[in-house]
Structures are given as C-alpha cells and as structure tokens.
Amino acid sequence: MPEEQKEVPVNVEEIETAEKAPEAKAAVKEKELVDFQLSYVYKKVDSIVFGIMSPQLIKKMASAKIVTPELYDKEGYPVDGGLMDIRLGVIDPGLRCKTCGQRLKECPGHFGYIEMARPVIHINFVNVILSLLRGTCWECGRILLPKNRIERQKQKLDIIQLDSGLEARRKAIRELMTSLKTINKCPYCNAKQQKVIIDKPYTFIEGDKKLSPIDVRARLEKITDEDMEIFGLKPGYVRPEWMILTVLPIPPVTMRPSITLESGERSEDDLTHKLGDIVRINQRLFENINAGAPEIIIEDLWDLLQYHITTFFNNSVAQLPPARHRSGQPLKTIAERIESKEGRIRHNLAGKRTNFCSRTAISPDPMLNLNEVGVPIIVAKKLTVPERVNPWNINYLKEFIKRGPGTYPGANYILRPDGKRKRITDETKDALLEELQQGFAVERHLIDGDIAIFNRQPSLHRMSMMCHRVKVLPFKTFRMNPSVCRPYNADFDGDEMNLHIPQTEEARAEAEILMEVQTQMISPRYGLSVIGCVQDAISGNYILTRNIEMQREEAIDMLCSVGVFNFSRLPNKQKITGKELFSALLPEDFNFTGKARSADIDGSKEVVIKNGLLIKGVMDKANLGDGAGLMLRTLHMNYGQEKALEMLGRISKLGIKTLLKYGFTAAISDTDLHDNAKIKIREILNRAEEDVNELITIFKQGKLETFPGRTVEETLELKILETLNKARNETGKIVSEFAVRNTGSFIMSDSGSRGGPLNLSQMAACIGQQAMRGKRIEKGYFGRTLSCFRRHDLGSAAHGFIRSGYKSGMLPHEFFLGGVTGRDSLMDTALRTPKSGYLYRRLANAMQDLKVEYDGTVRDASKRIIQFSYGEDGMDVSKSEDGEINIQRIIDSL
C-alpha cells in the first residue's frame, strides 16, 4: 500500500497563543490576589492556518486504528478497534477515555484512522485534481509551461495577489488552466498529451483510458513543488497526492454521539452509520485482494468504497444518489453538517446561546418608566445576579441566603472562589451562612434596579436590544412602557420578548453605558428620536393642548399623577389651560418653533414654545411622535439623554391621564354622515361611473385618443383608474369636510395617533378601487373577474371598484374583489420578509468589519480604506439632528 492520504479538509494546524494578561506575574506575589487574578489570565488565538492533512499527519494525530465495523460487544461495551472505541472519546456517563483519562464532557474526543485497501478520491478536490491532470505532462509530471514562462507566471500571480488579493489570484490561475488545456506537447519531454476528461462525479478518463485513483495518485506524485505553486497549491501545506485518500481519519465519537432510545435501544448517528459502511467495505476489499479475487469483483468493491467515502464527505453530490436511512431519509454527513443556516458554522459558531435569560409574552404598562422592564416575580426568582462578598455587604448578602431560593428576594447559589457552585436549600442554608466569606459570590434574585438586556426578534437594528432596569412585578408577563414599542417593533397581540441578565461587572457597565434606553433614543439611521409618544399618548396631548381648560386643582392632580410635584410652573390663576399644563413639563428655558400636523383652534399649524411655555399650536404626532419633528431631538440636545427620556415619559403619561380624565371613545357613530354629505357622495360616485361608461363607449367606437407610447387599451385603463381615484379622493374630501371634529375617530386621524383621513373616508363613504400590480383587478374567470358580471365588462364594478364604505357594508361582489387585494398584500408581506432578510444579511456580512480608525478613515478588516472621512464629513448620524447640524437653532440660542 502506498503511504496514506488526507481527509477532512479543515484542519487547524497551528494555534498560536498570544499574550497572557500582564497581571499574571504580579499576582503571584500577593497571595490574596492570586485566585482573583488567575481568572483573568487568558489565552488568545492569534491566527489559524489552513492546509491539507498528509497521511502521516492523519496517522500521527490518530489515537486508534479502526479495523472492525462492529460497534459494541454482547455486554454493550464498545469494541476495541471498532467505531465506538473508547480511545476515541467517551459518550457514556461513568466511562473513562482511554486516551486522556477524562470523563464524559471533559474529554474532547480523539481522532482515529483507517487504512484504505485501495486509494480513493476525495470528492471535494475533484476539480483541483482535474486541472492538475490537464496541466501536467502524463509522462514526466512537469507543468505544460516552458521553463522561462514558469518564473514569469509566478511573478505575475504574485503581483496580482498583491494588487487585488487572493481571490483575483485564484481567478488568474483558473484562466491560466484553461489556456494550458490547448497545449498538447510537453515542453520538457516532448511527450504527446492526451485530453483528460472527467466523468462526473469522480472518474477521470485520459484519451480513452480510464484512470484509476492509483494512476491518478501516481501522476500527482510526480508534480514538483515548484510547478505546484502555479496551480495555486502552496508547498509545505499541500501535496497534490494528498488529495487522494490512502488513510481516512475517523472523527471522534464525541462528534457523532449515539442516543439511547426509551426502549433501551441505541440509535447511532448518521456519521457512524456511514463510517460503518466504509469500514465494512474496506475490510471486504482487503480480504478479496488478499484472497486474489478476480479483478472485476475488486473493481466493484473499490467503486462501492469510493461511493461510500464520497457520500461520507458530501451526501448531496449532484450525480450521485444520496445515501439513505432505511426510512428513506438522506443521511446528514459532513458537508451537510457544516453548511446552511442550521449547519455548524452559522448555527453553532456564529450563533451563541446563553444562560441567565428568559422569554415570555409582553404587555404594556404606561406607569413604568421608559427604561424599566417589568419582570414577573417567578422570573426574578430564577434569574440571578452574582454579587461578590466584601466586608461591607456581607451582612446584606447573608439576608438573601437566609431567605433562600423560595422566598422572593432570596438567593439560589453560592460561588466559592475555587469555582464550586453550591445550591442553597433549607438544609444547606446554615452551613453556607457559616462558610460565607470574602471572595465568595452570592447569586441573588433579581431586584428592582438590576440591569437587564431586553430584546425582541427579529433584531434588525441595535435598538432591538436595549438595556432596561428591572422592576419586579406580579403576574407572568414582561411589562414595558408602550412608548418603547417602536424601536422593538413590538405590539401586545401575543408578542414574546427575551430578557438577559449580564453576569459580570464589565458586561453590566457596557450595557449601562452603551445600551440603556436613553442612550439609544436618537436613531443612528436618521438622527431623530426613535422613541416617542404612541397612540393614546398622542391623542391625549392633542386634546389637552388644543382646547381644554380646567380648574387649578385638577391640573395639580394631573401633574401629581405624572410625577411632577413642583407646581410653581403653573400660572398663578384658578383656570389653567391645557397648554399651560403641558408647559409645566417642559424646562423653563426651552425654546422651540416647529410645525404641527393639525391646526390649532385658530387655524394655524405653527408650534411655538417660548421660555418653556407652549404659546401656540397643538402637540401631535409631528412633534411627539417617533422619527418626526425636531422637538424631541432638541430636548435631547439641550438637556441630555436622561432628562429627555424623563420628559418624554411624563408627556406620555400626561396624555394618557388626559384621556382617562376626559374619556375617549372611537364609536361607530363617528363615521355617521350628514344627509347632505351622503347625497353628495352618491352624486360623485354616480358621476364617476357615468364617466367611466362614457370612456368605454368612446373606446368601443375607437375614438379614444391614445397616450404616447401606450396602446388604446392601456390608455383606457389609465383613464378609468384616474377617474375612479379622483372620485374616491373627492368622497374623502367630503367626509373630512362634514366630519365632526370632536369624535374619537377624527381626533385620532387628525392628531396622527392612529389611522388617517383615508381610513375615515373608507369607513364612512367609499372604499375605492382595489388595485393589483398597479392595475385594476383583471384575473378571475374567462373574460371577467366574477361570474356575476358580463364577459368583457370594462365597467368600474366589474374590475374592483368598491363604492360602499366599511360601515354600510360591502355588496357580495365587492367583498370578493376586496378579498383579492387582501390576499395579494398577504403574499407581498410573506414574500418580502425573506427577501429583505437576505438583503440585510448580505449587507451585514459585507460591511460588518468596517470601522472608523483612529485617523478618522473608514477601513475594513485588512485595513483597506473605504472612505477617507466617514460620510464625507465625519459626522456621526446619531449625534446629528436629522443628519445635519441645526444651524438655525444655534443662531436662535445665541
């Protein structure tokens, strides 16, 4: 047997250890510090080198040679030299590994190997082998390039690599390889070259002769190190013949553990199954060769072995039937384990799982502060914070231990400096109290004010994970202020969220400084506040600041309920207006002018705040909402993040309090229309229908004038659409004209807290044209959308114009056509999510290592300059005001 081959392509050859923490040396001196500091000594992987394993290396790293396909003996004990050999690691509790002497979970597992009876091609290198065979002489093994060109070519490749990186070099090599195909005479030995073709997946044919893996290997061995480089193989790391396997490494048992079913039966891992096949066929091949069996039998077995090894590496090779379980489901072998979202890399390596986290449904609680999270008491008793014992807190911590894990502010575990973890129970409590001393840590229950990281998936931006303060509350849901819904994109229709408790001081410090809600208030996407008032809070402030007047006592009551106890900001009079009350929440020196979305009673949309007094305008979404208006941004800029968040919380509470006090209802009667309005709407719609019919008549007479670049039919469609849309908009106008200003629905639409004029008019008057792909509905039956219409009816109703409103109810055909667009938009959402998700993943992957360097340039991981100054002016969007410096504000402030 020629010496051996290589295997799993991945192999970490060197792991260099770098720097130990410098404290380590000093620590030895002072005894008390030793324990503490040792935990800070760490090793760091500096780099990883990839290569291909040589047969020698495979044998050297193996701790067992596998010779039998049997797994267990009669007692159920792993067979020596079998695939579950305990020298390869242990997966049974109680057994010790014969190689390292460690137990389950301690032993990392060890490789084994098998000697192949005949060499076999490694499927993942087939393409490389092919280009090697094509590019070298079959006789002398030299590259089909004259000597002088070799040097030149090498230099050229090196230059390409320097200029544009490894990927460009690979491309250049590929091009070179295709050019080599045409050379048919060896420049060294003048041998005539024959064409090498590949019969996928792994048979090489030269001329008309099939090359066996032995032949191929012999050819590859002849290639010199010098020539190899041109093929993109690096001497010292790779030898071409290693791409043909003569020895196969057997992965450790720990990476293919068997599971014991309830019945006591063992179920082996897919990889073990596959390896069993390989070992079995390999043994048979050995026996047949030794017994001098006819070549044809040996060939067959050899081919079978090749198949098994191929599927062991990759069970989804295009031209091969995948190896299957008895149940018919394909085996998951090495390539499938690495690849895809559920594979090793994305699932286990790039994705991490943690302890000290919790997940439950969320519900709103407007009385919480914006940066608080309500944690159910059950959760608070399970999640803990380790607190280090010192002379000042020992008694305090002892109280927690005394209460134990069952009573609320208690503790669950004690951590000793040697790393032992002891559970606190009623029995161990007293002993542990005795034992507790400096340097221990107590894992106590969550208490109010602890730091937690709150998260909702999909985590699309950094505001999807923010740090909140714990507030322990009864019941079983996480509670949050509805104003922070927006950054998480959460609602309360059953959404669940996750909570993580950072366990070290460093983690807590980072969470507090970098992730707490107030630090995330200004979005790095557009430089405005992502947190703002929502729904009721906006409606409330709108009502309050528009036209409310109240007694002084009432105003004081409102202020108290919002958490303001300094009433000096209220003007000294008995009647207080809503605007004055609102102003009491603003800082005294706050100046602001902006635009509101809705008009004040005097009809103006201007908002003026002078010296902390709201003089003009109503507060609505344009100023209180998220991502809108500069008012919140200016508050943040002038008074800092804490103050801004606090004010926002109060404003929000004030709005809700207003609604509580004055009542707020969205009633069906809100959409009742005056008789005159109804008549007008009917007229408009009738007229529109007539217009459409007229257009159709003109079209049928062939007199319709076409738009440039359009056919007559398209022109008709466009004109009909225009007519109908105009009609719908007119009904909308009439609805707003006749709407009663102080109904709940109108207030919501006007203040921007929910819905808009469109929704109002759809309820009250007319739903309008249902459009699909920018056209009227066309699909359905032959020549018509529904069977209740005439064929080829071009009229408005037949193509989805709904003239009823939601309140009056739709006619049957309208309902069905409305359903068409409903489904269409469902499809749209369903298809968009994965598409945009993939776009996001690609963007994130491409740009994740761009960062600003100390010199202000933006560079990638290999220090190539992407931008000389971030965004051309080096400004951080989250420190800007809507992406700019607000010069007007600066001028005004001077």
Partner: protein
Amino acid sequence: MAGAFKEYEDLLSPKQLGEIKEKTEGMNEAKVNKVLKKVYEQYSNSKVEAGESVGIVSAESIGEPGTQMTLNTFHFAGVAEMNVTVGLPRIIEILDGRKEIGTPMMEIFLKKPYSKGEDIKKLALNIKETLLQDLMNSVSVDIAEGKVDIAIDNEKMQEIGMRTDSVISAVEKGMKGISVKKTEEGISVKLKSKDEKLINEVYKLKEKLKSVYIRGIKSIKQVLPVKRGEEYIIITAGSNLIDVLSMEEVDQTRTVTNDIFEIQAVLGIEAARQALIKEVFKVIEDQGLNVDIRHIMLAADTMCFSGKVKGITRYGIVSEKSSVLARASFETPVKHIIEAGLVGEEDKLNSVVENVMLNQPIPVGTGLPGLIVKVKK
C-alpha cells in the same frame, strides 16, 4: 465679515457655510463669528468616535427599512409615465450589482432651444430605436421566388421623415447575403444564394428582417417627451448613455441613466458611485422612509472602492474578505475552507465573525483598545 468665513473655510462644509451666510445676513461680525464658533464646536462634538462600527450601523440602517418597503415591482407616477422597478426589488438589484437591470431608463435633458419644446417630437423619434417591424404594415413570403415582400406603413414613414430608399440601404447594411428591391408597396428582400433548403431560409429571413435596425439609438425601446417644470425632457425606456451623450441636441451635463454599469463604463467609477448613491436614496425616499445619506454612501463606497462596481454578493465583495472564516460564515463554507486549505491560507482573525466564533473580543468598538493596568505592588 469675509474674514470670519475664511477662517472656517476648511473647518466646515461648504453647505454649512452657505447656510450660515444666508441665515446671518445682516448680523454684525461679532455675532457671525460667535455663530461660526458655536457651529464648529457643535460639529466637532458630532464627529464619529474611533472604533465606531459604522459598517454594521449602515447595514442595519438600510436593511431594517427594507422590511417596510413594497415588493410591487411596478409603479405609475402620474398617468402617462412609464413602468419603473421600485421598492425592495430595485434596492436588491442595485446592491447586487446586477449588470442587467429590470427597467433601464434615461432622462435626457436638452440644450436650448430644444428644451423649450422645439421639434421635441421629432427629436424623440430620432432617439427611439426603429426596427423594420415598426415600419411594416404586412409581410408576405414568396416561396417560389425565395423572397420576402414587406409593405411599408407610409404614415409612420412620414412621421419619422424617412424615405423608402433609406430603409433599403439600412436593411442592406443590417443583413448580409440579400438583395433589396423597391416595390410599390414597400420593399422586397431576396436571398442571394440559391439553396435547396430555400423554404426554411426564407422563413428565417422573414423573422430576421423584423428586427433589422433601421435608425435611432440602439436599445432605446420607448421615448416619452415630458414637460418638467419649465423645460421639456425626454424619458426613455432602455438605455444607451454613450450614444445619447454624443447627440448634439443633448445636454450632456444633466442627462442620466439608471444603469450603473453603463455609467461606470462611460463616465468612470466616481460617477458610478454617485449614481449608486442617488439611485438607492431615491428609492428609499420614494417609499417615504428616512435613511441618512451617509449610510448609503458607505454601502456605495464598499461596492466601489476597488475601482469597479462590485455587488454585495458571495461573488462580489464578500469573496474578497481576507478572513477565511468570515467568508465561510457567509455562504458556501465548504468551498471556502477547501480553497483555503490548498494555498495554506492564514486567518489572522482580525475581523468580527471569526472572533465571535472563537469567543474572543471583537476588534471594533469597546473591543478595540488594549488596556494595560499596572497593579500596585
């Protein structure tokens, strides 16, 4: 006054200076100086901090609103405008660096007097690519003679101001091995070679004739003169920047296409980058979303910094990362690991994902600085 601005000329952006100039109109110098100083102070405080991982922030800022965009490919802005790819599909198309875009389009601005609407229709028709099929009324095949008779639509001919003779010469130019004759109805095309398989050949000829180029600018499928503001412009479906720009009537400084690769080929990489930013920004703005232009700039710069427009795909810029593990964590990991093995590639672990995989601090943000503390003896 000017002195004050001069001092800050290099410190503030021209846009900011312009705004200050405008808004401080009529103020005394001391005050202007104060404003300038304050603005500069604010600007300095708003600079990005070193280590800020601006890449991921930009990716989030573009990716997150993606979920809110429509998928509906087509869109009519106004009655007579054309279909244009908008929303998420357009963003994907641009960032993919796709060479073939869904709806190539040009906006052709014109020099005076054409921009006032003079001869606008004629000009538009000159730009539009005219194929023989656009001019024919009917085609008939004469198998016996081995020829194709084409009846020409005289109305259309008049419209574009062409004569049958020029059509004949265009057809002769556009095809080989034929002879063209003028007939009463229009033209008749005959194969030169006397082949036995004539019947097939004649039918093939008929099909080929339909798409023979007659005049206009190639690949401009549709033209639409539009009045925008005070002037007339021509919007086209299909794009051919270089040919349009070489027309005399065209205002080269403002005429644009939405095909980024064409811009790259004609005007170079900087223009392509600008076009990229503009196109992405336009889409996002149209959808009513607010994304700061800096994020789009960074994405565009990542695509363009190598000197060629490269898409954000596994074949584009992701394939050029220096780290094996970073590439493997994106797509097709096995391929990347094998390739790395062949050349003995070393992963220096200096970007983000590799360090996440190994549970090590990542070299951005707070993971960047190395801090050494001297322990008191």
